[in-house]
């Protein structure tokens, strides 16, 4: 997926002004998700579960080389084949090569942020391979040629009416079809795709080192079909997805579902160990696991940002975020959006590429309260902001304004003078005259300042 983060501000403005339906749809959906998450957490000792999950992930990440090699050995013992990809290009090459080796003409895919990240569909299509996204939301977006807007609900920004028009145009369904009818129209196309597909491609929510298990969570059953029907299954898995033990997986499957949708567990969980070996197993003949770095080792090496690698891609931080709700995910300009994108993208892509995302937050902390693995997102955003400031990546107007403020604040005479001028002009007038702040203050009236400065009041004795 092309990186277009630099346009975050202009794209946000455009979405809010030109597509007001997006704000309405995303806000409604995320508030509903967040309420379900709260309900899901209330049924367990969520603080204890979240602390435990944070501990397991921290342990795994600080022993990652050990668990990666253990997972590789177990997968190979199970009959699966393991591939390693340093970057997106190599990951695409591996999957495309496997497809060619197996004379694959048609692929079905389960929803996967990792394959979005490496832009896999385009590479497969360039190789002449037909690709079907089989998650209903992803299928809608594939027809529209749009990237996902949300980790969990990729098409939450689309209204029923938009899907009705799309399916009437592309699938010939009734223009006023209800969701059941529309889903049936998609199912007919995708069922045929499942039957015909030579290869199934998924991501992986977790990879258990002890057993070599790729674990996948979903509600539709499309991932169960993707990992079962085609003769070849390829799982594209980020190297941070490791868990040490099968018993750890039990906790993570449930906590992730509760954080995402409030469910005790996804309606379907696939545990993939390897290719079918039992005579009665009608599963794939080959299973390949592609372990992808693509910037993750840079994040792991970062003094602070490594904690973002605990992320389980539940989307809870997006649902809780008042900033994300205004625009949905497309404004963020890359695959990982919302609060987690704002801390992960600078690490994966480099801070320069990910500007201004660390600033796309009010630092309210709702994301951290929702996060099942307690990623301290506001703290990480502040670290990225400091680095951006140190590296001169912030806008020159902002740097000039802060330098001016520092200059005034460190000179008592100048500070007194500025205070007196400010109290005469009024805060609104001053704010509107300043760079950066001016835009924010344009539609706001600030409280009227006291005619006397704080220093004057202090001298006279404050009661």
């Amino acid at each position: 997926m092309r990186v277009e983060i630099r346009d975050y501000a202009s794209r946000s403005r455009e979405i809010i002004k030109e597509e007001p339906g997006v704000r309405e749809a995303v806000t409604g959906a995320t508030i509903a998700f967040d309420e379900k998450r709260r309900q899901g957490y209330s049924e367990i000792d969520a603080d204890a579960w979240r602390r435990w999950a944070e501990g397991v992930k921290n342990h795994t990440l600080t022993h990652l080389d050990h668990y990666l090699t253990e997972a590789e050995a177990r997968l190979e013992a199970n009959g699966a084949q393991v591939h390693w990809a340093s970057d997106a290009t190599e990951a695409r090459e591996i999957v495309t090569r496997l497809a060619k080796q197996h004379s694959v003409r048609s692929v079905v895919k389960g929803k996967s942020m990792a394959t979005e990240e490496i832009d896999l569909n385009l590479a497969l299509e360039d190789a002449g391979i037909e690709v079907f996204e089989t998650d209903l939301g992803e299928y809608i977006l594939q027809l529209l040629e749009e990237p996902p807007s949300h980790i969990l609900g990729p098409a939450i920004h689309k209204s029923l009416q938009q899907v009705q028009r799309l399916f009437a145009d592309r699938l010939g369904s009734a223009p006023d079809g209800d969701p059941d009818t529309l889903a049936e129209a998609a199912r007919l196309v995708l069922r045929d795709a499942f039957i015909r597909a030579d290869m199934g491609i998924t991501g992986g929510n977790f990879l258990v080192a002890e057993t070599g298990t790729v674990a996948l969570i979903e509600n539709e059953g499309n991932i169960r079909l993707t990992t079962s029907l085609p003769r070849v299954h390829v799982a594209v898995v980020g190297i941070e997805k490791l868990l040490p033990r099968m018993t750890d997986l039990a906790g993570f499957l449930q906590l992730t579902a509760r954080a995402a949708t409030g469910q005790p567990i996804g309606c379907f969980v696939s545990l993939v160990q390897g290719p079918a070996v039992h005579p009665d197993d009608d599963g794939p003949e080959e299973v390949h696991v592609v372990l992808v770095d693509n910037g993750r080792t840079d994040v792991l090496a970062h003094e602070h940002a490594w904690e973002a690698l605990r992320c389980v891609r539940c989307g809870a931080c997006l649902n809780a975020c008042p900033v994300y709700r205004q625009t949905g995910g497309h404004a963020y300009g890359w695959v990982y959006s919302g609060p987690i994108g704002s801390v992960l993208d600078p690490g994966l892509l480099g801070l320069h590429e990910a500007m201004p995302l660390p600033f796309a937050s009010s630092l309210c902390g709702a994301c951290t309260d929702a996060c099942p693995v307690r990623i301290p997102i506001p703290e990480l955003l502040l670290h990225w902001r400091e680095e951006a400031q140190e590296e001169g990546l912030t806008p020159w107007k902002e740097r000039a304004a802060l330098a001016g403020l520092a200059s005034v604040a460190t000179r008592p005479g100048l500070y007194r003078l500025a205070g007196r001028i400010g109290s005469r002009l009024g805060a609104t007038g001053v704010a509107r005259a300043l760079p950066m702040l001016g835009e924010w203050a344009r539609d706001r009236a600030l409280p009227k300042p006291s005619r006397q400065t704080f220093r004057q009041l202090w001298r006279e004795g404050i009661e």
Binding site: A48, G55, L160, L253, F268, V272, G274
Partner: protein, 205 residues
């Protein structure tokens, strides 16, 4: 593949990234409260997720009862896809057809889980029968209902098949207009038949 330079490069980068970092310990097992009625807990969770539970008539043979039960569904089931590990006495007396054309799939669970309301289905039981028909009927021996998912996975781990499915309700999606639709890809109805017994399905040791 082993010997791949990317493998060595990634592992070296991981080792370097974590070399100066404190190696944090594993926090141990997640302690959750025990359930005193696993079967009741399973039924409650499974049905709250949209799953259905039916009880076979003990006066009739399971095969005979299931045949009648399938005939009473709407629409009535005329042909079934049966998992390879379903014992003869649990198979309905209906024509066996390809899973893609079957009115129902019949499986036997390796076990079930109260904590998550899940059926544990090994791949040795014919995946297509579990996934393609619009209705999935699953025999569950009540002696195989685990209180916690951790307990089930710990026991399953000793003889893990190539694939395991945890099914905790019907196929569903809310991707269109935030309205929940069932039977999107997998079975739109998932019916657990909890009955006497304590034997795991065959094929898993």
């Amino acid at each position: 593949m082993r010997g791949d330079s990317s493998r060595e490069r990634i592992l070296a980068r991981v080792a370097k990234a974590t070399a100066s970092r404190q190696r944090l310990p594993h926090p141990g097992a997640l302690v959750t409260p025990p359930a005193d009625d696993p079967v009741g807990g399973f039924v409650k969770r499974f049905t709250s997720s949209g799953g259905e539970v039916a009880e076979a008539d003990p006066e009739r043979s399971p095969s005979e009862w299931l045949t009648g039960f399938l005939g009473g569904l709407d629409p009535a089931v005329a042909g079934v896809a049966i998992g390879a590990d379903v014992p003869a006495d649990l198979r309905p007396r209906l024509p066996a057809v390809a899973a893609a054309h079957a009115g129902a799939g019949i499986s036997v669970a390796w076990g079930a889980v109260a904590e998550s309301g899940s059926l544990v289905l090994p791949s040795t039981g014919t995946r297509t029968a579990q996934l393609l028909p619009p209705v999935h009927i699953v025999w569950v021996p009540e002696g195989r209902v685990f209180a916690r998912l951790e307990d089930a996975l710990a026991e399953l781990q000793d003889g893990l098949p190539a694939g395991v499915g945890l099914h905790s309700g019907p196929s569903k999606s809310a991707d269109i207009g935030r309205t929940v639709v069932t039977g999107v890809h997998g079975p739109g109805r998932c019916i657990a038949l909890v009955g006497p017994g304590s034997t795991a399905s065959t094929g898993v040791t």
